[in-house]
Each structure stands twice: as structure tokens, then as C-alpha cells.
Symmetry: C2
Subunit: 342 residues, 2 copies
């Protein structure tokens, strides 16, 4: 029997840590062939674990004396908090004591620390955050979702290749449909960045389906939607905000009439299902693609289920060696597109 | 009694023209102190009007022999279709035969033609499309929603001033809350463009409340949300697409169980109200701010009610001389911020 993969989990990261992270770890080791290293304050973690039932050999503790607070800047956290739970979690990947890292803590710090500790893959200029979002027919991967605010066409090309490699490896898609987020379908539509990027993508050895407009990203037309990190983050947050607003508005409309209230009670399970579907924190977090190692950044308000999912995805990424696939893909790409950077 | 304001309506523009544009015109002249000049094929319009009841002295026809098709480019439409209904509609404003123009036709052509025929206001570098979007507490104005894909900080500053002037004049807000769309609340967050723009906005003589994140735009915190036209258009389209997707997903969830189906019937009026609220085509269209005249661009799928609303807003803008207010505001601004362009 092959050894279980080991996932290091920042047990102190997230709005409801460490209770929720511990619960997620226990769910994960109970369901999957995986071991979890909880990283954080040893005494606190031991205390929390005491009353819980779980396969003891599957969960271990790695002490970290500090916690990164949400108001800290990535640079100061890296400089000053060398014993933080985020830092120690990622260092376990660097030292090969863990195969992958998961953190629901300060996402900017988690990203910067991954970059600082693990470094970039060869041939990758800009690692990106890839986020799974719901569509009418399933899901799509949006990247970059916030790592790089000002991008060049070659960066977006890189994001397309990384997203392609990820979907092939993790979702077993033979030929993921890659689209470029823009404001019109024609190649002449868009801003300077997307018009230039379009030319490169057309020549790339991927299934590039062209520009996609904002109104169509949820329709299931594309598996990967490529954009710069500023726009990606805004799209992500606008979607999150709008979905919440819609639920609130709907409740107000329904609450206006008693007959509707009864109707509301009847469709409540549907609303709940739907809410879960829209809540991207449930998808287990966003992989950082382009890093020399496996690291997943989860939403701060992740539930135990979201943490469990993140651990599953992290172990799959490590098992399938997604970062090596990306390195190989981008090695070839750099040769094909060597003219891009000239 | 003062003379009625005259609004020129591109009767041939829009997915359901001319039936819906005519119906909207009739609703408008019946409800408001306004006259409408229907611009389009005279015979067809006469034929359509024949069977309708409306105050005859309030609606007139101005003949235009051509129609701009959706696939035409703005430059070719301007060059080749000099007798199009869009062109003639806007020319009526130029010749002072009408006080304002409304078109639900090809929005790119309507915008380019406005710019070509009416020109920019003095001191305006880049006219912008301002779109009203729903929030939890009412509405907010998003600009630029697609006129300018690549912007400089001084353009965004201009958008803020124009949005401010519009909200003051049209919504009677004493001090509209202006926010800059970005990926974090702190002034250091964002891309190059927003970080530079933030500095200018802080010094501007407006109620600048700082950066706003995508998730908060629907919360009612800001009255005006400023961004470049590429991002604005994507935000608009993502919101439109997501709202539609959510409705479809909800129906699927509800259809799964019979009890829910009954529940659905009971809350159907609530869903309908809500849908209307989310459908920004209902708000009557987007004013083009910074143009030397009054021009409103409506959604292609505008209903008669949306056209009626657009006519109302157009006549209000003309009555309150919003374009003159903007010209005066930007004259002062240019003095205050003369260093910006140096």
C-alpha cells in the first residue's frame, strides 16, 4: 500500500480557526487517504483534539508560536513573523515533510509567503490564483483572481497555460475550453492588454475559444476564463456580493406577503442548496499556480467542509504533480513563444 | 405655460423596434410634459401609429431612410449611413429641433455618433457611459460602463466629477458619495491606475469615500462607483449574467420537488418583482456624460416601460441642463487639477 499523502494545514488561519480547521482536518482524514499536519499553537491544538474522535495516526501537530493578523502586510509578516502558522505550514512543503499546504488565513500573506519560501517554477514569470466559480452546467476556473494587478500579455498567456494544465490534471478534461475575458467577442474588442493577448492565445497550442463577455462566464461556455488579477478579483467579489444581495432582496420581497412567506418556507431547501452552490468558499479554496510546490489558499470564512475539500484538492494536486506538469508545459511554451518577451 | 421639452427617439433602434419604441413614446407623452419626435421610416411609423390612441400633438415623425444593423462598426456606420435613424435622432439635438436624444439601437454606434455629431463638452477629455445599477438600499451609478477601455487617472477623476454632477442634478443628492472600484479599501490597494487616481480623488472637492471592493458595490455604501470602461463593462455584464444564472439555477432547484413547485408558485410575484429590480434595462438607459448635448443610450432589449423611463430621464437631463452643469464643474476642476495633466 502506498504511503498516504501529507497535507500541512494552517490550523490557526481563518475566521473560525482553530475549531473549524480541526473539524475539516478530521473530516478529511476520515474520508480520504490523506494525513494532516495541523500547524499552530501546540497546547491549544492538543486541548481541542482531546475530546474528538478520529484516526490518531492520521493527524499530527507541528508547533508554530505566532499567528498572522488580518491587518498585517505581507512584507511585514514575512519579515517579522518567522514562526507564524502560515510560514511554518509552507516551510513543511519546502522541507518535504508535507506534500502540500492549505491556509485559510490572510490570503495576501499566504501567497507572498509561498512565493518567498517555495519560489516560482522555472519559466513562470507570475504565479496566479485560480478560483473555481459556479456555472449553469458546473464550474469554471477563473485566473488570475488577484495575485497580479498589473499584467502584460505574456502573463495572461502563462495563466492560460497553467489553467489548461490544472483542468487537464485535476478534472481529467482532455481539452479544456480556454476563453479570454473581454468586452466583446470579436478579437478587435477589448483593451490594449486583451487585444495583444488574443493574438498570442490564437497561436497557442491550447483549445482557445476566443473572447468571452462578462454576461457569458456563468453559462458554461468556457472551462477556464483568463484575465488580469485586478479584474479577476473584482469579478470574484462582484459575484460574491451580488449573490448575497440577491438572496437578501429575495427575502425582503418574499417577506412582504404572508402567502409568500409560506412559499418561502416551502422553497427554503432549494434556496439553501443554491446558496451552497454559489458560495465559492465551499469549493475548497484556490490553488496558487506557478509556485514550486502545492499550496491552496482557502476563503477566510471557510466551513469545515470547505477545509476538507481544500485538503482533498491539495492532496490530488500533489499526487498528480500538477506543479511539475505546469513546469514542463511552460518550458515548451517558452520555446514556442520566445518571441513574445523580445 | 412653458413649452414641452422635445425628445428625439430613434424609433428603429432596439430588439423590438419600432413597436416597443412607439409604445414607450406613447406612454411617455401620456404621463409626462414631453413631446416625442419618432425618427425612422415614415411610412412604417405612420402605419404603426394609425391604430393607436395618443395625444396627437405630442408625437411627430422625422423621416430617416436607413437603419444601423447590430454587426456594423461605429466607424463604418458614421461614414456610410448618413441617413440612419440613430444619426438623424442625434442631429435633431445638434440643430436644436430636439432637447435630447434616446436610442436603444447599436450602443457603440450611438455613442460614436453622439461624439461625432455633438462633440465633447469643453474641458472634457473622455465622455463616459453612466449606468444605474440596483443596490440593497436603492441604486448606484457606475461609470464608465464601456466608453473608454484604456484610461488614465485624469479620466477617472473626470468620471467622478461628471457622476457627482449628474447625481446632484437628477437625484437631488446634496453630496453624492463617490467611491473608486478597487480590490481593497486601503489607498495602497489596487493597480497602478487606481492607486494614482486615489491620490487625485482625495484632493478633489467631492465627497470621496475611498476605494470600494466588488463585494460592496451592491450594499448601498456608494452613490457613484468610478472605474475604467473595460472594468465597468465587465462588472455590468457579469452582474447581468449572474442575476440571470441565479434565476435559472433557482428554478431548477425548485423544480426538483413538487412541494417546492407549489412554493415557487407562491413566491412567483416576489421573483418577478425582484427580476424587474435587477433588470437594468428597466432603468431607462445610460446617459452619455461629457457630450455637448443630452443623449441616452438604452438597452437593446428595452421594454416600452424602459423607453418611457429613458424619455423621462432625457427630458429631465435637458431641463436641468446637466451638460452645462458638467461643463462648468469641469472648467473649475481643470483649474484645480491643472497639475494632473502636466
Amino acid at each position: 500500500m502506498p504511503e498516504n499523502l501529507k497535507v500541512a494545514l494552517d490550523a490557526m488561519g481563518g475566521d473560525f480557526a482553530p475549531e473549524v480547521t480541526i473539524a475539516g482536518a478530521i473530516e478529511a482524514v476520515s474520508e480520504y487517504d490523506v494525513e494532516v499536519i495541523l500547524v499552530g499553537d501546540r497546547n491549544r491544538l492538543i486541548e481541542s483534539l482531546k475530546t474528538k474522535r478520529f484516526p490518531r495516526e492520521r493527524i499530527s501537530i507541528h508547533h508554530a508560536s505566532e499567528i498572522v493578523e488580518m491587518h498585517e502586510s505581507p512584507s511585514s509578516a514575512i519579515r517579522r513573523k518567522k514562526d507564524s502558522s502560515i510560514r511554518k505550514t509552507i516551510e513543511l512543503v519546502k522541507s518535504h515533510e508535507a506534500d502540500a499546504a492549505v491556509s485559510a488565513g490572510h490570503s495576501g500573506v499566504a501567497m507572498a509567503t509561498s512565493l518567498f519560501v517555495l519560489g516560482k517554477l522555472p519559466n513562470v514569470a507570475r504565479p496566479a490564483i485560480a478560483t473555481l466559480m459556479p456555472s449553469l452546467t458546473g464550474y469554471f476556473l477563473l485566473l488570475d483572481a488577484g495575485a497580479n494587478v498589473d499584467c502584460k500579455p505574456e502573463n495572461l498567456l502563462e495563466f492560460a497555460f497553467m489553467g489548461n494544465a490544472y483542468c487537464k490534471a485535476i478534472f481529467n478534461m482532455p481539452s479544456p475550453r480556454i476563453a479570454l475575458l473581454s468586452i466583446g467577442e470579436e478579437d478587435t474588442k477589448g483593451n490594449e492588454l486583451t487585444r495583444e493577448t488574443f493574438k498570442y492565445l490564437k497561436k497557442a497550442n491550447i483549445n482557445f475559444i476566443g473572447n468571452i463577455e462578462g454576461k457569458d462566464i456563468f453559462s458554461g461556455l468556457a472551462d477556464v476564463v483568463v484575465c488580469d488579477g485586478f479584474i479577476g478579483n473584482i469579478v470574484l467579489k462582484v459575484s460574491e456580493g451580488l449573490a448575497e444581495t440577491i438572496m437578501k432582496m429575495l427575502k425582503v420581497e418574499i417577506a412582504n406577503v404572508t402567502a409568500r412567506k409560506l412559499g418561502y418556507l416551502m422553497i427554503k431547501p432549494a434556496l439553501k442548496n443554491f446558496k451552497k452552490r454559489m458560495d465559492y468558499s465551499e469549493y475548497g479554496g484556490a490553488p496558487l499556480l506557478g509556485i514550486n510546490g502545492t499550496c491552496i489558499i482557502s476563503h477566510g470564512r471557510s466551513s469545515a467542509r470547505a477545509i476538507k475539500n481544500a485538503i482533498r484538492v491539495a492532496s490530488e494536486m500533489a499526487k498528480k504533480k500538477v506543479h511539475e506538469i505546469i513546469a514542463n508545459t511552460l518550458h515548451k511554451t517558452t520555446e514556442d513563444f520566445s518571441y513574445v518577451k523580445e
